[in-house]
Amino acid sequence: MSYDPPPAAGRPAGWRPRPAPEQPTAFLPKIDVLHPGPLGTQFIPEAEEDDTGRIGPEIGDDPVESPPPPKDTARTVVRSFGELFITAGMVILLFVVYEVYWTDLISAGKQNQATSSLDTQWKDQDTVGGPQRGTHYDLAEGKGFAKIYVPALGADYHFTIVEGTTDADLDIGPGHYVGSALPGQPGDFAVAGHRVGKGAPFNDLDLVSSCDAVVVETETDWFVYRMLPTTDEVAGWAAGKGAQPQCKGVAPLGGPYAGLVGQETVLPSQGDVIAPVPHKQDLQLPAGQQASLMTLTTCTPKFSASHRLILHTVLTNQYAKDPKQPDKVPPELKETD
């Protein structure tokens, strides 16, 4: 352990004071700064962390080996900056943990709560409402009103859809754009969901391919939407993928919907992708001529807000729930290839 005092002005680096040779005639006691003697003959500076990481003067140590260093402002400043940068790095890492894992935990709790309150509500209305069943939604911001199933993303893939797309709503689960169509209705039933964190309901939205079922459960019905053909598939649809059995009812849409494909990436400003006729915000089509679409939006690429990933699906099937068989589910839910 060596100690280098800061080089004083005008002295070469590495210079260190040397004890003067002993004068035989000296009669006054000498204070040796480099080799301080026992207590009383040396100056002990106030407790201060030295550059070796140890704290304060260590009386027990061999005083010759490690004399307490004097105050060194430059060193303190540099060290403090280093500590600040390391701390900032730790905080940013912690933010990643928060964003990717922690919000999942929080949102899972909120999602469970929304699901169980929706289940209770459906059950209560089944018994209270009795035969007076019909399409009825209890829409309130942040409250669940339907469930979404995407069998292609796994048999256990289901989320409760809440009303609204504010940050607070989307913390709970996928959110329905207020004012857009409701499940099964003509127009565009538009739903937004997080891609990363917050339960990440739409994390794998890019893995859904054309004809894959997106099933929506409401209090009274099951609605089966299927993804429209993608840009590459439109040309040879009828002879190609469109011939597959699960693609029944799925075909490139015509008329005002011409050019609408199953998956697209748009800029965040393109709000017209969730218009009743997507990309045609100003087109006022009578409800009777509107197709029943469902559009899912999320961010893309992952961890970025630069673009939006959009999935357009079309209603192909609808099953009314049978109150006598509450556990009956549509066969589309088993399409988990």
Partner: protein, 51 residues
Amino acid sequence: MYGWIWRHLPGPTAAKIAEATVLVLGIVALLMFVVFPWVEPLLPFNQVTTG
């Protein structure tokens, strides 16, 4: 900074370790429950709606 905090924690080393742990946990909780939820909507990571 950390040295200064360590020196100002009272008690013997064992007590200092306990106090430092409590401090760290408190700061992590503050970040996780207050600071990050506040700062997150301001950052361009996870915006999923259009329009």
